[in-house]
């Protein structure tokens, strides 16, 4: 039986804060009841010293931080301060505060206890301390303890579960059962909720149809209101800051902030920074405002059982329960003991006693914990075991008589499917299996989402293609749709690409403005890239200036660009009547219903015997090379053959020309920076050599390089043996005119095919991934969050000539 109050008598209840409301409600039942409720802190303040903000300000001004000041004041308020040994050094401060009236005592505390009955509720370990205070009143008071033992409950069980999913599943079923049996929801409590439980509880609540009042408390410091306030305060002044904050946050938090901001505004009149630091300290100690809820399962924050209620304890693992109060504060535990202030040990013991009482209280319906919670292993609290509870060794105890198994409904898909994940774990006789059945309708939809492209529409396009667009299509049609039809790529042009642009421009200027020396050309190229000077040959786009770092990098790279340029020149100087097309645009329509556009980096036409020959050169600042195999099999490496095809149709260029070679010229090759012991000069030429395929006409070779040599100075892998035949490496690199034409025609065929598919709306999610790390369309694709393709399901392809094992694997 709980304590019964009568109107004729006068009562003081020393109550744990969580129970205060209960006693106040008693007065509503019987308004004539003369009953005052004090918490332990309030009881303490009747007998010990009190202080106010003036005391706090006094200490703050002396240079103590907010936290330290608060702790000192807590110690100063002790009546036993004289007992302190080490604290003596602060006694002068305390005396000053008393003298100024900032530390003061409540007048006539004994009057509070005149002719009253004192009842203690929710305090257990603290009782000796409470008695000490009561004795100070001069009356001989033996407090009455609230008798909770007979409060009716269901009885406690302790159950262990594998993870919080199962644990909450069990607990929520129990709660649902409880509600069904008529327990008012407001009398149901969850204890032990941690932040990791929150999202799960949220979802379970939906499935079970009752709301749990989860209240995750941050600090005022963490609120937007405070952030607005403090940044504006530092930039302006208090009034402006308050106004600024109020603009966005006219709420209770703003009230709280304004209140303390004004209160402490004058502590550091000369230093805004100090004031701001103080505000931050204070803001870290205040909880933001949270609205109250009703008709909810409440979350119990402290181990004090409500006097009417059914409590479900979850997450009851070691390390969490019982809580251990760590030693902190300005004074050490030892000193606190002398000062008569509760030490961390005291607090731990109080908590311990409270928890012990709590667990034995019959309002606790069940205690559960899970062995694993989101990646962490847990162990059941020995405390719970020690309470000699009914320990159920079986992980699941759902067979209580008459209790239904599954109360989840409506939104139970989540629950059911989560259980389905663990299907393999449940035996056919597991009662949870019944639960699945109730949800079978929902589960019909299980795992149906399929991200494959279902579109049939052909989107209107201009059927004009560039080499890079076509490459996109070949690597993944869906990527082409997103990138080249819908233009969804948000990525900005990176600095490495801009380096390439500058280098290209320098190489172009060497032809278009031959009068410039290298340094002038380089800085002009940089100016153009930064948009300082408009580029007549290209559409003007918005250009950003280089950062200081980028400028330094560009200057560091200058030598490399120069080397590339000189290499190109040394090659060109051997040509007869050369004619240069630099950054030459092409744009023409094919009779196959598409058109092509783009820029050749460089086309050189020159006289070779009685013919005009053309080199097509593409500059690359990276390591990309021309891979004919990839082109032939997959249509990748399309660029050079496409240029060859374009050349044949380009009316601006001499049409009777034959192709002397299609090449990639490395202009800032990584080789340049990875010398591996080679002298830089030796390396330059090696690294600058052009790679690609070459006309098999040996005469052409002699025109460019003079005497036939064992290996070419200008072209990678090109060499002639003493007997005049091509070397083995070279024979893989030389082609007849017919073969060049064949490549060009293949390019056309690939384009026609792509055009056809694009026109028919074929944008399948079909990324091309090759073995041996040769190509992976997904590796840097920015659209994985649109295609959602399961990377594991992509069938890797290999070139027909590939053999052998897969690539080496990296370590963990």
């Amino acid at each position: 039986m709980l304590f019964e109050f009568v109107s004729e008598k006068k009562y003081v209840v020393i109550s744990h804060p969580s129970r205060k409301d209960y006693y106040l409600l008693k007065k509503k039942e019987n308004p004539f009841l003369d009953l005052s409720v004090y918490t332990l802190d309030e009881l303490r303040s009747l007998f010990d010293y009190n202080y106010d903000n003036r005391a706090l300000e006094y200490l703050l001004k002396k240079g103590f931080s907010y936290g330290v000041s608060k702790d000192m004041l807590a110690a100063f308020s002790s009546d036993l301060f004289e007992n302190a040994v080490e604290a003596k050094s602060y006694e002068y401060l305390r005396n000053e505060l008393i003298e100024k009236g900032f530390l003061f005592k409540t007048p006539h505390p004994e009057k509070t206890f005149e002719n009253v009955i004192v009842l203690v509720s929710g305090y257990y370990g603290e009782i000796p301390l409470i008695k000490t205070y009561l004795n100070k009143s001069g009356f001989d008071i033996e407090p009455v303890l609230e008798n909770e033992d007979e409060e009716n409950g269901v009885g406690t069980t302790l159950d262990t579960f594998k993870d919080p999913f199962e644990e909450l599943h069990y607990v929520f079923n129990k709660i649902a059962y409880d509600i069904k049996n008529g327990t008012p929801i407001d009398e149901i409590y969850l204890y032990g909720v941690s932040s990791t439980h929150i999202p799960l509880i949220h979802e379970y609540s939906k499935a079970y149809g009752f709301v749990v009042d989860i209240d995750y408390r941050l600090r005022i410091f963490d609120t937007r209101a405070f952030r607005n306030f403090i940044s504006s305060f530092l930039a302006s002044d208090l009034e402006t800051a308050i106004k600024e904050m109020r603009k966005y946050d006219d709420d209770k938090n703003a009230d709280k902030i304004e209140k303390f901001a004004r209160q402490f505004a004058s502590v550091f009149p000369d230093s805004k920074e100090k004031t701001a630091a103080l505000y931050k300290d204070i803001a870290k100690t205040i909880m933001p405002y949270e609205p109250r809820k009703e008709k909810v399962v409440r979350v119990l924050k402290e181990a004090v059982s409500p006097l009417h209620g059914h409590v479900y304890c979850i997450g009851f693992s070691m390390g969490v329960y019982p809580t251990v109060v760590t030693e902190k504060g300005f004074f050490s535990d030892e000193e606190k003991a002398r000062l008569g202030i509760p030490t961390s040990k005291d607090r731990s013991l109080w908590d311990n006693a409270r928890l012990e009482r709590f667990l034995l209280n019959r309002s606790v319906v069940s205690i559960t914990y899970s062995e694993e919670i989101f990646g962490e292993s847990q162990f059941v609290s020995g405390f719970a075991k020690k309470m000699a509870l009914v320990v159920n060794e079986n992980p699941i105890a759902l067979n209580e008589e008459g209790e239904a198994y599954e109360f989840a409904h409506d939104k139970g898909a989540f629950l059911a499917s989560s259980m389905l994940d663990l299907f393999v774990k449940y035996r056919t006789d597991d009662p949870r299996r019944i639960g699945y059945q109730t949800l079978s309708g929902i589960l019909d939809e299980y795992a149906k989402y399929d991200p494959k492209y279902t579109g049939t529409k052909a989107f209107k396009t201009n059927k004009k293609y560039s080499a890079s667009a076509l490459k996109n299509y070949r690597s993944c049609p869906f990527k082409y749709l997103l990138n080249n039809v819908l233009y969804l790529d948000e990525s900005e042009i990176g600095f490495p690409a801009r380096i390439g642009t500058v280098f290209h421009k320098v190489l172009e200027l060497s032809h278009t403005k031959p009068s410039l020396d290298f340094d002038e050309a380089y800085s002009l190229a940089m100016d153009i890239e930064e948009g300082k000077i408009s580029d007549p040959s290209r559409r003007s786009e918005e250009k950003l200036p280089f950062t200081a770092k980028e400028r330094i990098i560009l200057l560091n790279l200058k030598e490399y660009c120069k080397t590339s340029l000189e290499f190109q020149k040394s090659f060109e100087k051997n040509l007869k009547n050369p004619y240069f097309y630099s950054e030459k645009r092409f744009d023409f329509s094919s009779d196959k219903g598409f058109s092509l556009s783009g820029y050749y980096d460089k086309v050189i036409q020159f006289d070779n015997a009685d013919k005009r020959s053309s080199f097509i050169i593409d500059f690359k600042s990276g390591t990309e090379s021309f891979d004919e195999d990839l082109f032939k099999e997959f249509g990748l490496s399309l660029q050079l053959p496409l240029y060859a095809y374009a050349l044949k149709h380009d009316k601006d260029l001499a049409s009777d020309t034959e192709i002397a070679g299609i090449y990639i010229a490395p202009i800032c090759h990584y080789g340049l920076e990875n010398p591996d012991g080679k002298e830089l000069e030796e390396l330059d030429n090696e690294a600058c050599k052009m790679g690609g395929i070459f006309n098999n006409d040996k005469m052409l070779y002699s025109v460019i390089e003079g005497e036939l040599a064992k290996s070419s100075k200008f072209f990678g892998s090109l060499g002639v043996k003493n007997d005049g035949s091509w070397t083995a490496a070279a024979s893989k690199r030389v082609r007849t005119q017919e073969e060049f034409l064949d490549l060009a025609n293949r390019a056309e065929a690939w384009i026609a095919l792509a055009n056809d598919q694009i026109s028919n709306g074929l944008f399948l999610v079909d990324p091309l991934v090759l073995t041996h790390n040769r190509y992976d369309a997904c590796s840097s694709c920015p659209f994985h969050d649109v295609c959602f393709v399961d990377k594991g399901s992509i069938k890797k392809q290999s070139l027909s000539k590939d053999v052998g094992n897969e690539e080496e694997e990296g370590e963990e």
């Binding site: 589960l443 560091n556 052998g804």
Partner: protein, 1072 residues
């Protein structure tokens, strides 16, 4: 759990009786945790020297270990209490005890002494991703400042080391910071990097080290050949001898110069071949055996290597010049690192958020600085016994800390052979050093527990066979045969005659080239498991009664690379073998996370960035949240109608709310609104996907604690991507009858009846020194002269590399040891069949891959084998040699049929008769609580008892009816109260009852408060409310408050109610 201890264990347990330091070297499965727990129990139960649980400090490395130790200790104490060894049940003490992890203990100390350290006592642990990205941002900012305003040194640094980007200098700065985080003293380390590592003494020491390294190789070559009577080998040995013990580097170099044809090193065009000049070709006339050939090859390789190094290093003074050239750069980089550190500390301090490594270095200050000597003393005296579990995993910093607080009372337990956390800075040398010293009774006493109670004798004997060949003091840090070999301890369980079916197996298989290696091996293993289950292979599991047929849960696959795990999951899924994976999920690269990022980003970029908006829109609409029809979706993007889609319109509406809410609120709002959880059913794998979502929410809480706002939080995820920051979550450790798969690291401390060891042919990467720049605790910062400077001749670089490679290799050996010792019943290796002979992979590997040297120690002992250069775990296995393999390792006929004939796993049958239960609908009512008065005060208002409040208090204890104020002694007080009591309102109060501070709680209107004075007359049915105000009572603002009082009182009493304001200073009243 009653446990019988053997003599070795008892000696270790009872060591507490004598003051001193003890080290227990405990092999795998030797019951070390039981020993530790028993020792704790005996200490606490010992009545001759009473010790409280709180006087013990027991340190572990993982929460799991700490929790387990606590559980075991508590159980031991409970049983001691019931067994009469203790008069009192001390088990509750365990919960409060310092049986804890290093991290938690450091945090506790730092919190406790926060004020002494000038810290906020409420410091918290921040998630690494926030700290790391902030660190990178700060570094980038500092570098940008330098680029903007470069000083000459920085200019030169940028010229020398920055090419296409500054990744290299960024890396070296981060490298410096990472190392600094782990050393006992950051400040000293920074100073060392700038000063000590450039001193002459340092350089001389390194020169000497170089000489010794070279001489060691010469020695090894010399000793290898010295016993031979073969003519050719004798010649080889003579060449080796000519380089032996020459005393210093210069003399050795002179020796090279003096070689025929090489008058000066400058003239040598040195290629590998020349290195072995002087060695004759093999010829039949010398009658070389295979073993001789093998020895010769090793000698050549060793001497060739020495000569090559001499040639490349050449004049060491030139190297010194080059080295000193980098000094200003190193100095600058260290300064930048310090600056980053300083700014990052500010950031952490402001938020009160630190990483565990920060906490450890702060804790170090507590025990190391003069001004804190009292703290050190108090910690030292608090603990009568300090015990450390898994001592082999101790880092330098932890060791420093322990050594400071120890008081001749240390008890350390560990197994150096299981030290596999070098990457987390565990330093096994600490354990090795102590073991060496303590074995000689220097500084303490060592115990050895080698009796294994985990495994069958077959398993133990095979493990011993492998490790006695490869674990040596120089590689693996122990001399395995001497005191480290496992002894079979479970005699009573298994008997003493071996059974062939438990012998270690090698599953050799023909690889299907169209499948990946992992898929091949997964299939072989799946088949083998099914085979064993079907045939009813018997296992004997600890804790169970007698042998039983094997079940899924008895198998574990320990993989060296995590990325193999998904392949196994797929294959085992097809095979219907339940499989539970312990895997860290990389959250940055999964669909759910990508989608979540888009959802977060949309409100920020809507109306700002059209492309990004479209991208987000496409992502969200195509995801499982909407499953939008593709034609519809993409048409709307083309014609712009997507802007009228509810998703966009709602997002626009919610934008302000989202951007101004705490992040966790915004995140949960989005998850809720877009039904991320509800719809998980559409993509399956619900539990693990839910965990990911839960992790997003936790991360959001963390962001709030870091005081990030919404936009910054979105930016944070871009940073994670940009800086490649680890954003991962822990694995699933679900239970059930399923096979397990995990990394070898994750398997530490676990045991399984049958383990599979796949992927044995993967290359061991022995050195982590791949970059252009090196930072090392021992060698400082090594930079090349510039980006294009060659490093292969840089002897310092080579010294680091060598040291690192040896340490790395030792670690691999220990990893292999951990892997094999997990098995209780059987070990099964996987090896692909090699072309040609089936047994080829078992033969001694070819020389270019692995060199097995009988390398003698400096003392010339001849019984130490050393594996100089193994490349794979297969090489370890192969070391057993053909004899051993022939005798002991059964080769299974592993030809695999394709496709693998999977036996169907366990089928699931549904029960019928579904039960349906009524739904419960509860509507939440959310109302704001209002406070009418000041019943409970804000902390800031505490004790605001100025004059008015003092009077307030006096009136509170004064009876307005009796008007007896004799208890008030102060005359001023008395006069003031009299003035109030004289008010005519209180003239006739007969029949009234007075209530002071009438506090109430009206849960219907959610109002609570307290009325200063309530006077009630039951018979007249009258109630009077009096509210005290210090002076002014005319403020209209009071009316609202009084109205609430009146309403409440009238409602509960049902009487005629009046309310008055009372001016305490004036004594006047006014009806409200």
């Amino acid at each position: 759990m009653a446990m019988k201890f053997n003599d070795e264990q008892l000696a270790a347990i009872n060591s507490y009786q004598e003051k001193g330091n003890y080290l227990v070297s405990a092999g795998a499965g030797s019951g070390k945790t039981a020993v530790l727990t028993e020792r704790i129990k005996r200490i606490v139960c010992d009545k001759t020297n009473p010790t409280k649980v709180s006087e013990l400090l027991v340190l572990t490395f993982t929460n799991k270990a700490a929790a387990e130790m606590k559980t075991r200790t508590r159980e031991a104490l409970v049983s001691a209490f019931y067994g009469g060894e203790l008069d009192q049940d001390l088990s509750p003490e365990v919960e409060f005890s310092d049986i804890t992890t290093f991290d938690a203990f450091f945090l506790k100390l730092v919190k406790k002494y926060a004020y002494r350290l000038g810290l906020d006592p409420n410091i918290g642990i921040a998630s690494n991703d926030f700290i790391l990205s902030e660190k990178r941002k700060i570094l980038e900012a500092i570098l940008n400042e330098k680029y903007e305003n470069p000083d000459p040194t920085f200019e030169a640094l940028a010229k020398n080391y920055v090419l296409k980007n500054d990744n290299e200098i960024t890396d070296v700065i981060l490298g410096i910071m990472d190392k600094a985080d782990l050393v006992p003293s950051k400040e000293e380390f920074y100073l060392d990097l700038k000063e000590r590592f450039f001193s002459d003494e340092y350089f001389e020491a390194r020169k000497k080290e170089l000489y010794e390294t070279l001489n060691d190789d010469v020695k090894a070559a010399y000793y290898l050949g010295m016993d031979s009577s073969n003519e050719l080998l004798e010649k080889d040995t003579a060449i080796a001898n000519s380089y032996l013990d020459l005393g210093d580097y210069e003399t050795m170099l002179d020796r090279l110069k003096a070689e025929e044809d090489h008058k000066s090193t400058d003239k040598i065009t040195f290629k590998g071949k020349e290195a072995t000049a002087g060695f004759e070709r093999n010829s039949p006339k010398y009658g070389l055996t295979e073993s001789d050939n093998y020895k010769r090859a090793i000698i050549k390789e060793l001497i060739g290597g020495v000569k090559e190094t001499l040639y490349k290093v050449g004049d060491i003074n030139k190297q010194k010049e080059k080295y000193l050239f980098t000094r200003p750069f190193v100095s600058l980089l260290v300064d930048i690192a310090k600056e980053v550190d300083a700014r990052l500390s500010e950031y952490k301090k402001e938020r009160g958020a630190y990483t565990f490594s920060d906490i450890a270095s702060i804790a170090r200050k507590l025990v190391n600085e003069e001004e804190n000597s009292d703290i050190l003393e108090s910690i030292k005296h608090k603990y009568k016994f300090i015990m450390v579990d898994e001592y082999q995993d101790t880092s330098d910093l932890q060791e420093f800390f322990i050594s400071k607080i120890a008081n001749d009372n240390l008890f350390m337990v560990g197994d150096i052979k299981q030290s596999i956390y070098r990457f987390r800075n565990a330093n096994p040398d600490i354990f090795a050093g102590k073991l060496r010293d303590f074995s000689l009774l220097k500084g303490g006493k060592a115990f050895s527990l080698q009796k294994n109670f985990r495994s069958r004798m077959e398993v133990i004997s095979d493990i011993n066979s492998i490790f006695e060949r490869i674990m040596t003091p120089s590689l693996g840090d122990v001399d395995y045969p001497k005191g480290h070999a496992l002894e079979f301890g479970n005699v009573w369980l298994y008997g003493d005659s071996p059974k062939p079916e438990y012998t270690t197996e090698i599953l050799s298989y023909d690889a299907d080239k169209s499948l990946s290696l992992h898929e091949n091996e997964a299939r072989v293993i799946a088949n083998d498991i099914i085979d064993k289950v079907v045939k009813g292979f018997m296992v004997d599991v600890k804790g169970e009664v007698g042998p039983r047929k094997v079940s899924w849960k008895d198998f574990a696959i320990l993989v060296p690379v995590k990325k193999a795990i998904p392949v196994y999951q797929k294959v085992f899924g097809e095979a219907k073998i339940p499989l539970i994976a312990t895997i860290q999920e990389d959250l940055s690269d999964n669909d759910l996370n990508l989608l979540f990022m888009r959802l977060l980003k949309l409100p920020v970029i809507i109306g700002v960035d059209e492309k990004a908006t479209k991208h987000c829109y496409a992502s969200i609409k195509r995801s499982y949240l909407y499953e939008e029809n593709d034609d519809k979706l993409f048409s709307s993007l083309i014609d712009g109608s997507y802007m009228n889609d509810p998703l966009i319109l709602e997002m626009k509406k919610d934008k302000d709310f989202l951007l101004s809410s705490p992040i966790y609120k915004a995140v949960t709002f989005l998850i809720e609104k877009y039904k991320m959880v509800d719809k998980l059913v559409r993509i399956g794998d619900v539990k693990s996907n839910f965990k990911k979502i839960a992790l997003f929410i936790n991360n959001a809480f963390m962001a709030d604690q870091m005081a990030l706002d919404y936009e910054a939080y979105v930016g944070h995820f871009d940073d994670i991507k940009k800086y490649n920051i680890d954003y991962a979550m822990g694995g699933d450790s679900a239970d059930g009858d399923a096979a397990r798969i995990m990394s070898i690291h994750a398997s530490k401390g676990l045991e399984f009846p049958i383990i599979y060891c796949p992927h044995n042919k993967r290359k061991l990467s022995k050195s982590s020194t791949a970059g252009l720049y090196l930072v090392s605790n021992k060698y400082g910062v090594l930079l090349p002269k510039n980006r294009t400077d060659e490093r292969s001749d840089n002897f310092l670089y080579n010294l680091i590399k060598k040291e690192d490679a040896e340490k790395g290799l030792s670690e691999y050996m220990r990893l292999f040891y951990v892997e094999l010792t997990r098995a209780s019943d059987q070990i099964i290796f996987l090896l692909p069949k090699e072309e040609g002979s089936e047994y080829k992979s078992f033969a001694i590997p070819s020389l270019n891959r692995t060199i097995l040297a009988r390398k003698k120690t400096k003392e010339g002992k001849s019984d130490e084998y050393s594996l100089v250069n193994p490349n794979t775990f297969a090489d370890f296995i192969n070391l057993l040699g053909p004899d051993f393999l022939g005798k002991k390792l059964l080769r299974k006929d592993g030809s695999v049929e394709k496709p693998v004939p999977f036996v169907k796993g366990n089928d699931i049958e549904y029960m019928d008769e579904p039960h349906l239960y009524e739904s419960i609908e509860v509507t939440p009512i959310i109302k704001e609580a209002k406070r009418a008065s000041k019943s409970s005060l804000d902390p800031l208002d505490e004790g605001k008892l100025v004059y008015g409040d003092r009077m307030h208090r006096l009136l509170e204890v004064t009876s307005f009816i009796t008007k007896d104020i004799s208890f008030i002694k102060d005359e001023k007080d008395k006069a003031a109260v009299e003035k109030v009591l004289a008010n005519s309102l209180f003239n006739d109060l007969s029949g009234f009852k007075e209530y002071h501070e009438y506090s109430y709680y009206d849960e219907v209107n959610e109002v609570h408060g307290s009325i200063d004075l309530l006077l009630v007359n039951k018979s007249k049915r009258q109630a009077i409310i009096i509210d005290y105000k210090s002076s002014h009572i005319d403020d209209e603002g009071y009316d609202k408050q009084m109205a609430i009082y009146k309403d409440y009182v009238h409602r509960v009493f049902g009487f005629d109610t009046k309310a008055y304001l009372l001016s305490i200073s004036q004594g006047t009243t006014k009806e409200a």
